[in-house]
């Protein structure tokens, strides 16, 4: 029996060891940002005191010595947000709001770059961001217990002092700034900007959630925002265009380990026009489908509707309608309505058959035997649909 049991034990023992190894690996793989650090420009002051007595055992005056070391900035890769892709139309810029959060231990300036990586169906598009953004950062000097940053009201965070006391900003963090601590976002309500080897304080407004425990050394990073403006160029055809833009941020000293980048795709929507033509045999009251029957000499009322189903303005829209065989255009019958389908009688705008009167409509002038209506711009949506009415007589 024994030899049968021992191999099983060996197997389970190995499994257990494997699990241990896994646990260790997970612990080692924790993000470096969680590592405790000290804020840049903080003073590390070492003070030694000597107490001593003379040969007779009488205590003498203490002597002390101090030595200061200033903590240096450790540039770190900032966290860049990824805004949602946008749609736009030619003539309107797409504006994206980006958030950049510092992971460093002090104030640093980040150079922003934006570039059109590729564009499809459109040409001449451009992208721009501000040249740079400065973000403050510090570290938690005294551990904060769970709930130490209350959900409401204000709470005080102790941080190392920087080398510019009284400037109103601690390592670039000032009143009104947005800061991130362990993923939680707070706004700065107040600052006590002391100097030397002391501590200063940052007072934050509660964000609606009580904090967890925040260990000493936890990084405090400012979150700044900037805009990316994408200006569409010219659409190459009737199809939508796409503009891919890369945005990245890098510390001015170019020391940070990697460069975060984000790609947005801006869709430049092309206009989509539809045109319908309907006929009425009752003077424009109803426009039934099918093939209505009418005798020679009867009047037919036509309704031509142009609708823009896209999301951008259609410009330079012209409706042309040559008279069909066996019909004669009835002078002075052209009318226009905008929006939902209406009757001929209700159409509000009369159009003249001549040019030069500014209404854009003519008959038999621009093109012989043809009604021509220069509409101009048709904005998207059924509410902006253009209806052109005119009447003909059956010969």
């Amino acid at each position: 029996m024994k030899p049968r049991i021992s191999p099983r034990l060996t197997v389970s023992g190995r499994l257990f060891l494997g699990m241990l190894a896994l646990t260790v690996a997970v612990t080692l793989g924790s993000p470096p940002s969680a590592e405790a650090t000290t804020a840049a420009t903080a003073i590390i002051r070492n003070t030694a005191t000597v107490k001593y007595s003379n040969a007779a055992g009488v205590p003498q005056t203490d002597v002390t010595a101090t030595s200061d070391v200033k903590v240096t900035l450790v540039p770190a890769t900032p966290t860049l947000s990824s805004p949602i892709d946008q749609n736009t139309v030619v003539g309107t810029n797409a504006v994206y709001t980006y958030y950049l959060t510092s992971n460093a231990n002090g104030l640093d300036t980040y150079t922003l770059t934006s570039a059109v990586a590729s564009q499809t169906g459109i040409s001449g598009s451009t992208a721009s961001t501000p040249a740079s953004i400065s973000l403050g950062a510090s570290t938690v000097a005294i551990a904060i217990p769970a709930g130490g940053i209350a959900a409401g009201g204000t709470s005080v965070i102790t941080v190392p002092s920087d080398d510019t006391p009284g400037s109103g900003a601690i390592n670039g963090i000032a009143i009104g700034d947005t800061i991130v601590i362990l993923g939680q976002v707070y706004t700065v309500a107040n600052i006590a900007d002391n100097g030397g080897a002391t501590t200063s304080t940052i007072t934050v407004n509660g964000n609606g959630t009580a904090s967890g425990a925040i260990p000493a050394g936890t990084q405090i990073g400012e979150r700044g925002s900037f805009s990316l403006t994408v200006t569409p160029g010219t659409l190459g055809g009737a199809a939508d265009g796409f503009i891919d833009v890369n945005v990245s941020a890098r510390d001015a000293g170019s020391v940070q380990p990697s460069t975060p980048a984000d790609l947005t795709t801006t869709t430049v929507q092309a206009p989509r026009l539809t045109v319908t033509k309907e006929v009425s045999i009752d003077g424009g009251a109803t426009f039934p489908g099918g093939v209505p029957q009418a005798a020679p000499g009867a009047t037919l009322t036509y309704r031509i509707t142009v609708n823009n189903g896209g999301s951008s303005n259609a410009t330079s829209v012209v409706i042309t309608d040559p008279m069909t065989m066996f019909t004669t255009y009835q002078a002075g019958t052209a009318k226009r309505a905008t929006g939902g389908a209406t009757t001929y009688a209700a159409a509000p705008t009369a159009l003249t058959d001549t040019n030069g009167d500014g209404d854009g409509f003519d008959y038999n002038l621009t093109t012989t035997g043809t009604a021509t209506y220069i509409v101009g711009t048709v904005a998207p949506g059924a509410a902006n649909a253009v209806q052109l009415f005119f009447q003909v007589k059956i010969n």
């Binding site: 000597v50 007595s53 003379n54 002390t64 030595s67 070391v69 240096t72």
Partner: protein
């Protein structure tokens, strides 16, 4: 002969001074802060210590405390206290000091003990008190106790910390 004369004269000067001012010890202390930098020399990596005026988180600072007795009498029961600087942690086993008795505190300098005796009690969930030996990261102070610093005597003490 000449040398003896000079020596005698020197001794006389000392005695004269002593007779004017009351004999007393005068201890001084100075701190030198250094860090290690790696340099490439003839293709070989070499580390050397340089004076540190700034340091990045994670760097190790080497503190050297030089004491001297500039007085004309022995100093006795000299105690050098050095709190671990804020923003740093003590590096285990780094405290040195020839002829000095080294002890540490984990309670902000109230009590000093040898590392193995630095213990604190933790209340277990069962309610039982568990005694644990403090880890070097928990040290708040280093103390060197020097029984006697003779007149004119000097010595060096040292310890290292890591910048948090």
């Amino acid at each position: 002969m000449k040398q003896q004369v000079i020596k005698a004269a020197l001794t006389l000067t000392v005695i004269l001074t002593a007779s004017v001012a009351l004999a007393k010890p005068q201890v001084t202390i100075a701190i030198q802060t250094e860090k290690e930098v790696t340099t490439l020399q003839n293709g070989q990596k070499a580390t050397k210590r340089v004076a540190a005026t700034n340091a990045a988180p994670g760097e190790i600072l080497f503190y050297t405390l030089t004491y001297a007795n500039a007085g004309n009498e022995s100093a006795t029961s000299a105690v050098v206290d050095n709190p671990i600087p804020t923003g740093t942690v003590y590096l285990p086993g780094s405290a040195t000091g020839q002829g000095a008795d080294i002890s540490f505190s984990i309670d902000g300098g109230k009590t000093f003990k040898k590392p193995s005796l630095l213990t604190y009690e933790v209340k277990l969930p069962s309610g039982k008190l568990d005694q644990r030996v403090a880890s070097p990261e928990e040290y708040t102070h280093v103390r060197w106790t020097i029984t006697t610093i003779p007149a004119g005597g000097t010595g060096k003490l040292g310890f290292q910390v890591k910048v948090k």
